[in-house]
Point group: C2
Chain length 236, copies 2
Amino acid sequence: MAATVDSPPVRLVVARCQVDYAGRLTAHLPMATRVLMIKADGSVLVHSDGGSYKPLNWMSPPCTLREGVTDDGQVEWTVTSKTEDTLRILLEEVHHDSSHDLGVDPGLQKDGVEKHLQALLAEHPTSLSPGLTLVRREFPTAIGPVDLMCRDADGLSVAVEIKRRGEIDGVEQLTRYLELLNREPLLTGKGPVRGIFAAQEIKPQARVLATDRGIACAVVDYDALRGIDDSEHRLF
Amino acid sequence: MAATVDSPPVRLVVARCQVDYAGRLTAHLPMATRVLMIKADGSVLVHSDGGSYKPLNWMSPPCTLREGVTDDGQVEWTVTSKTEDTLRILLEEVHHDSSHDLGVDPGLQKDGVEKHLQALLAEHPTSLSPGLTLVRREFPTAIGPVDLMCRDADGLSVAVEIKRRGEIDGVEQLTRYLELLNREPLLTGKGPVRGIFAAQEIKPQARVLATDRGIACAVVDYDALRGIDDSEHRLF
DNA sequence: CCTTATATGTCGCTG
DNA sequence: CAGCGACGTATAAGG
């Protein structure tokens, strides 16, 4: 007797279907041929040809799929989550239907993003502003750690917020830190704490807001920093 | 002669494979069985069983897939984008391989997103605060447009920020706008610009911050607004 | 084409 | 579990 699998983990279906979602929003997909992927946890993905990795429609786990038949004899899938979200898929014609046991996935291994950038800047603080020396990385405040705390040639404290992409949120974040840091007498002895917003790319909007708040912007050349130890500084 | 399809739009492959990505980061997937979806534009999705709709790894269009063979005879896919990102998939064993023509997708119809909420509130500004009249939607400022600019019965300007879910970011956003708007003499003639933070749901933290800054919070009943023209107002 | 704001964001971490 | 920040964010809208 052959070994059987009770509920095959992944099911791939190609079918002409119509999809309706109701949850945080309502969405409707007219009848057309699409790829349906049903995973072991009951989650469903509705993919069209093209677009990026995001499905046209989907249901995230945990959820349950119920297969039924409508009054006029069409197959209907109803996917429901605990939070009353529902995905209804009406199947008009099934072109393909297969199931596959994948087993457990060992998972993804990532390497090298922003932590690396922080390490580089910690080693070369003068690339942000001349005369800067590192006091400490991840300098703690009540609302979270500042990426870099430095001191400049005049003895002023300098708080540095590092992002890969400098957007307005990052300026807000640094502003909050500066507000708290400027209440610390130990830091403000020689004058108010300066702020530097450092990123590989700084959006115009973020630059405007930073400038408006007296925060300096530093565009960091990642490759140059990585390649050359004593890189030129760029401060705007 | 039978009609042939040169490059079938969607290809579904289930295979034991190993995946390596190099781009803004590097990522590695050890050898395991996964679902591979190749779309017409050459984009590739690597799905495992479980997780959400996001693939373990992927390549976004535009990109090209090249099928090759390694020195030791294994099938190898190399997907490259214009921006020198590369996805390398080493296939050890193919369990399934099928192609399907989907045709053009009519696309998704959404309802109940923020834009719709904004339209409803623009039509019924009194649901936010009594006596409010709309001056203009998407009122421009140096750092972006305010969702609604209104005027109250006393002639005061009122800036409204609308979110589906009211979180702390939205309060920050409105605060920024108010800061800029209050520098405009044309708006502050009768007094400082008021702020209203409107959302279907407002998180406690956001409410505290808003209150602290003198910003009013309005919880919007989307269904009521959509259903009834002259809905009751709720202002906290 | 670039910039900006939204997302059924998702994901991972930390308190 | 909530809150917060990052993401190869994706995606749509507007200038």
